[in-house]
């Protein structure tokens, strides 16, 4: 058993996630034939892409270490959906400005998080939790009285219908983002510095890494990714409704953990996280196909999450 666990290739989080996803698809197809049909898979991937994009930001913040975590992503997603919907308001022509404004808003929220965490030294959990409260309040203000905006037709098409007879645009977007993040984390100095501050902040400081600047930038990126997910969500559901983002907060963290990124920081990457997001969504939808109550589904879901976590690494013993 011990030898098995030591074999890194066999128990590499990415291999585990892929294996589990495949097993789940077989299982799902067995329970309800058609579960693993191409159309079904694509619609699952669309749902997963929303979570995956949010988890990208979450992933970066967690990689940066010092208990990095971003609970405000839920609020940003909701706000972004409202802002984007109101700016474009059903018009294709306004998509680009809407995207620009929304990303700016998301980035700005992240900037405040980053400044609070880095310079006032508020623990990330607390800072982003407080920010979540602010955003929930802001949502009420933004939505009140104003007719909530609608998605532009192109955006709806982008998020749900195949693009040029291939996959839906949102999946292409996700793929490009994944490639971009892999490149960023692996082939740029910035990416390596994220791992550096995540694994050993002291050593990073000694090797001239601008630790503060990078940490702030991670929160900014997290805000922007969440905003992007909010725009996609607007396209997916056609219009924005209250607090759509909140349900994504903790799943975005779990997806990161299932992707093999340690909450302690500095270890892991985005491919795993993307697979983690898929795993989570497939698991959820398999539970929906099983004909049991919502309650049973939740219990099985919770227990499965715990079980999987045992696979993904436990803390160290105190005795050496």
């Amino acid at each position: 058993m011990k030898i098995l666990f030591k074999n890194e290739n066999l128990f590499n989080p990415i291999t585990v996630a892929i294996t589990l996803i495949i097993i789940l698809f077989f299982l799902g197809n067995f329970i309800s034939p058609g579960f693993a049909s191409p159309n079904q898979i694509i619609s699952l991937l669309i749902v997963a892409s929303l979570l995956g994009i949010i988890s990208a930001g979450q992933n970066l913040v967690i990689l940066g270490g010092r208990e990095g975590i971003d609970l405000s992503v839920g609020g940003v997603v909701s706000i972004a959906a409202v802002v984007a919907g109101n700016v474009m308001d059903g018009s294709n022509a306004a998509i680009l400005p809407a995207v620009a404004v929304t990303l700016f808003v998301g980035g700005f929220i992240g900037l405040i998080n980053g400044i609070g965490v880095t310079f006032i030294k508020i623990p990330p959990l607390v800072m982003t939790l407080g920010m979540l409260g602010v955003l929930q309040g802001l949502l009420v203000v933004v939505r009140n009285g104003v007719p909530s905006g609608n998605a532009a037709p192109f955006l709806v098409h982008f998020a749900t219908k195949p693009l040029l007879n291939t996959f839906p645009g949102i999946l292409w977007l996700w793929l490009i983002l994944t490639l971009f993040l892999v490149f960023l984390l692996k082939h740029t100095v910035y990416g390596l510095r994220i791992y550096a501050i995540g694994t050993n902040e002291r050593a990073a400081k000694m090797t001239a890494v601008p630790v503060e600047l990078i940490r702030v930038s991670l929160f900014v990126l997290s805000g922007m990714f969440a905003a992007l997910a909010g725009i996609c969500l607007l396209g997916y559901s056609g219009s924005s409704f209250a607090n759509v983002g909140e349900q994504y907060i903790l799943p975005s963290i779990i997806a990161v953990v299932f992707g093999g990124t340690s909450l302690a920081g500095g270890k892991g990457g985005y491919v795993g996280t993307a697979l983690g997001a898929i795993l989570l969504i497939v698991l959820q939808s398999i539970l929906i196909t099983i004909r049991i109550d919502e309650s049973g589904r939740q219990m099985i879901f919770g227990a499965t999450l715990l079980l999987l976590m045992i696979f993904y690494g436990r803390g160290k013993m105190l005795r050496s």
Binding site: I69, L71, G116, I120, K121, I122, P123, L125, V126, M127, L129, G130, M131, L132, G133, V134, L135, Q136, G137, L138, L139, V140, V141, N144, G145, L250, I253, I254, V257, L263, D293, E294, S295, G296, R297, Q298, M299, I300, F301, G302, A303, L305, L306, M309, I310, R314, G315, K316, M317, L318, R319
Partner: protein, 323 residues
Amino acid sequence: MHKNNKNISLQLIRNFPFIPSLIILIVLILLNGFYEPNSISIGSLVGLISTYLALMLLAVAQTYVVMSADIDLSVGGVISLVNVSIVAFMDHFGGGVYVVLLSLLLGIIIGILCGLINGFVVAILRLQAIVATFATSIFFMGLALYIMPVAGTPASDLFWLTYFENYFGIPFVIYALSFIILLIFFLNKSRFVKTLLAVGDGYLSAFQGGLDVTKTRVKGFLLCGFFSAVSAFCLTGETASGDPLVGTKMTLLSVAAVVLGGGALSGGSASVIGSMIGVLIIGLINSLVFFIGTPSEWQNLIQGLSILIALMIGIYINIKAQA
């Protein structure tokens, strides 16, 4: 070598990390009184307490895990589970005195069992507290949904009537609060809480000093489960019904209250009194926002901003004091 800080105010804060929050609380009470003189009456104070008693107890529950540098994101789930369990129990067996008392016992047992599960996965299996307790919370909420799929089953009349009754001219909640404060007072003087704090101060040095770190952390979760159950009782008294989703919104507020009360999530320094003050701060901010005549759609935002600013000020002062 001699760098003992002579600054008395900083020293006070170091000894009692909840002092900044106490000051914020007093300022808030005064502001409330300024904008709405009636708010400083006994009646409105009792009203404030009875509205926030459940959250106060939940913050107390959260404090006991934060003391040992853990966190419990399942407290909301536990509240929901206990709430629906006791309501369903009373509904099934009729609302007699003995049934009500038995239901309380049942609630406590459920709370402690939930704490045991959390303690097991976090301290014994050594999973990350944030994600592990989130997973258990999904499980608990599923269980709550199983017991009561839709909200609305009323609690026994006896139960909520007692909760709102006055005895000798004093509302029941005051008795409840006094009893709980007494309990917390004794707990604060107990060996267990001291050990909990010492463990939270550093697992390794506590281990070397001969403390049983794992056992202590599990016990912290048990205590958290117990107080979550008591919190659920108050919530049930307040709402007089069962709702499987009732606790969802309360988890993160309980964490915020602990931090507002000067508790450090890194462990070793958190006070139950502080956390209760933290809840009152949240409550008073909410009422102040109302009293100063904020348009209703702006209220949530102003509340959120004020809480964030209060959090920042508190942490900033504590960091300065520790330095």
